[in-house]
């Protein structure tokens, strides 16, 4: 491939990186809480989105001597991340003003986070993966502590930093063991090595499992989830939304890549691959059960969504498990990621716009009688909560449906049943806020919300996405299935 062609393939990433530099210059030249940085960041994301749609690669292209690969999946994922960034950028400006958060730094770090996540999804080399992981994580730690005068925000940032930093070191240790066993950090070379030999198996085994554990921590699957509720509760709400969508998405794409690191078709590797499946099975079921059981008991909306995202990690891991048996079933994971990030984005924007007090996250009781005060907002809440619960006519139904379907297809029927039971238990938690909103009378002292037009628009757009995709699921699902077959 000539260099011009590869440049056009990576052009969305280049546009994003250029936009980051420009936004940084603006925050240096004009240190104020006013608009220019926001406008610039959203413009950058729009350009990135256009570039993604224009330069959609055909099939998987390997770039930079095999250090990165660009495929329809990665470019489409970057397009989705740009859309999420635009929605968060529009939707959270009033929240930032209210919390006195520095505009230009916020948007600058948001762009870096998106760049890191999108490179992480392309990485085909363990070192590139580590660097992209840190490029994604460092802005996330900082953003989590952005309400600088609130001790809880600082606590969330420190907790996130300590777990994230430790896990970065664990990932690197795993990478060094894999390097020691195979003599390379390129995933393609490691795949070739696994086809030829099982020498140094013990070292490789330990290294590979350490790599997987590091990313299971990042997506907060159950024995590794303890940091998540605290970080979600303490971080500024708009930032929590970004972490819930962008970081989860990158984490699962990397997990899929790490699980495909060895040639599982070779007879020597079959027992090892089976033991990996057992690990994923265990983690998936634990995440489902713990996530769905604890979400019911939560009184704080952000904490509730943290446990909800843990149970969503469980569904996604079931999808990965099915893909370990039949690789083409990976499409259920992609569908889940795309749908999940759309509805989570809308839900967090709603929370950030309806926080009544200066310092606190929304408690569940704050929603009491919302219907009387604002029927339209109640409708938006209802759409997103029903989608989370997996009701038909929303995207939440199809995401779960395809995970169940692929679990059955891969012969993991018993786990599909477990997941279905957990979905029913979880649905109670999502329906409870709706009952509070509609059936109770409003507290007359409750503060009224003031939302900006753009903020409202961002929520309405994601609600339309959730419902529109739920009514006409075929279009996007066909695209994602096509990608999964190519992969």
């Amino acid at each position: 491939m000539d260099s011009f062609e590869s440049l056009s393939l990576v052009s969305p990433w280049l546009v994003l990186a250029g936009g980051i530099l420009a936004t940084m210059m603006i925050s240096v030249v004009r240190v104020s809480t006013k608009r220019p940085a926001q406008v610039f960041a959203i413009l950058t994301l729009f350009l990135t989105l256009l570039c993604c749609l224009k330069n959609m690669p055909e099939g998987t292209q390997v770039l930079f001597n095999g250090a990165m690969e660009v495929s329809p999946l990665t470019t489409l994922a970057l397009a989705l991340l740009s859309v999420l960034g635009i929605l968060f950028g529009f939707g959270s400006s009033r929240y930032l003003t209210k919390e006195k958060i520095h505009f230009s730094d916020y948007y600058h770090l948001l762009l870096i986070l998106i760049l890191g996540a999108s490179i992480l999804m392309c990485a085909k080399d363990l070192v590139v993966m580590f660097i992209a992981l840190e490029v994604m994580s460092l802005p996330a730690y900082t953003l989590a502590g952005f309400r600088r005068n609130d001790a809880r925000s600082n606590e969330a940032a420190i907790k996130y930093y300590i777990t994230g930093g430790t896990l970065g070191a664990v990932f690197l240790l795993g990478a060094s063991f894999v390097f020691g066993a195979t003599g390379s950090t390129h995933l393609a070379d490691i795949f070739l090595w696994s086809q030829g030999t099982t020498a140094n198996f013990g070292l490789f085994y330990v290294g590979h499992v350490l790599l997987l554990i590091a990313f299971l921590f990042k997506v907060a699957a159950v024995p590794f989830h303890f940091w998540k509720p605290d970080v979600y509760e303490g971080a500024p709400t708009a930032v929590t939304g970004v972490m819930a969508t962008v970081v989860t998405m990158a984490g699962f794409v990397v997990l899929a890549r790490l699980l495909g690191m060895i040639d599982s078709a070779r007879i020597e590797w079959v027992p090892y691959f089976e033991s990996l499946k057992q690990l994923i099975r265990l983690v998936a079921v634990l995440s489902l059960v713990v996530g769905s059981a604890v979400v019911v008991t939560q009184k704080n909306l952000k904490r509730m969504l943290a446990y909800s995202s843990i149970s969503h990690s469980g569904y996604l891991l079931l999808g990965l498990l099915a893909a370990m048996t039949k690789p083409e079933l990976i499409y259920s994971v992609w569908i889940y990621l795309f749908g999940y990030s759309l509805m989570t984005c809308g839900l967090f924007l709603l929370i950030s716009q309806s926080e009544p007090r200066e310092d606190a996250g929304t408690e569940l009781v704050d929603l009491t009688g919302l219907f009387k005060r604002s029927p339209f907002r109640t409708l938006l809440w209802t759409i997103f909560l029903l989608s989370m619960a997996g009701m038909p006519l929303t995207i939440g139904f199809f995401t779960k449906y395809f995970v169940f379907l692929s679990s059955l297809d891969a012969g993991e029927g018993i786990f599909a049943v477990v997941a279905a039971v957990c979905a029913v238990v979880g649905a109670y938690a999502y329906l409870r806020p709706i009952a509070l909103m509609v059936m109770r009378d409003a507290d007359p002292t409750a503060a009224s919300f003031k939302t900006s037009f753009t903020g409202q628009l961002a929520v309405v757009i994601s609600a339309l996405g959730v419902v529109g995709w739920g009514i006409m699921p075929n279009l996007v699902i066909q695209i994602l299935k096509g990608i999964a077959l190519q992969h």
Binding site: V127, F130, I131, E134, L138, Y141, T142, G145, R148, N149, D150, A151, R152, N154, E155, A156, A157, I158, K159, Y161, I162, G165, T166, G168, A169, V170, L172, L173, A175, S176, F177, F179, G180, G183, S184, T185, P229, D230, E233, G234, R303
Partner: protein, 103 residues
């Protein structure tokens, strides 16, 4: 007589240092010590990479160590900033006293 330095000895040292770092993060209560322990873990991994690249007669491991050092410096800068922000609001760096977020 002092035996010649072999790569596997480096690996053993690296593992000991990594364990010290991990225990430091888990056991110690002072946030600054925890930051240092994270740095210790990253540096022990550097030693690992260098030792493995000696074993394989490759240069990739040494280069990786350089990358890791750069990233580790950035990471510790961010971590220190977060600790300072926390100290400004709470006047403590003791992780036992930082417990506003819990079920």
């Amino acid at each position: 007589m002092i035996p010649e330095l072999q790569p596997w000895m480096l690996l053993i040292v690296a593992m000991i240092v990594f364990t010290i770092g991990l225990l430091g993060v888990i056991v110690r209560k002072n946030l600054l010590i925890m930051l240092m322990s994270i740095e210790l873990m990253l540096n022990s991994v550097n030693l690992c990479f260098v030792a493995f690249s000696r074993i394989h007669h490759l240069v990739e491991g040494d280069l990786t160590a350089l990358f890791v050092m750069t990233v580790a410096a950035a990471e510790s800068a961010v971590g220190l900033g977060l600790v300072i922000a926390l100290f400004r609001t709470l006047r403590t760096v003791d992780s036992d006293q930082i417990q506003m977020l819990r079920d």
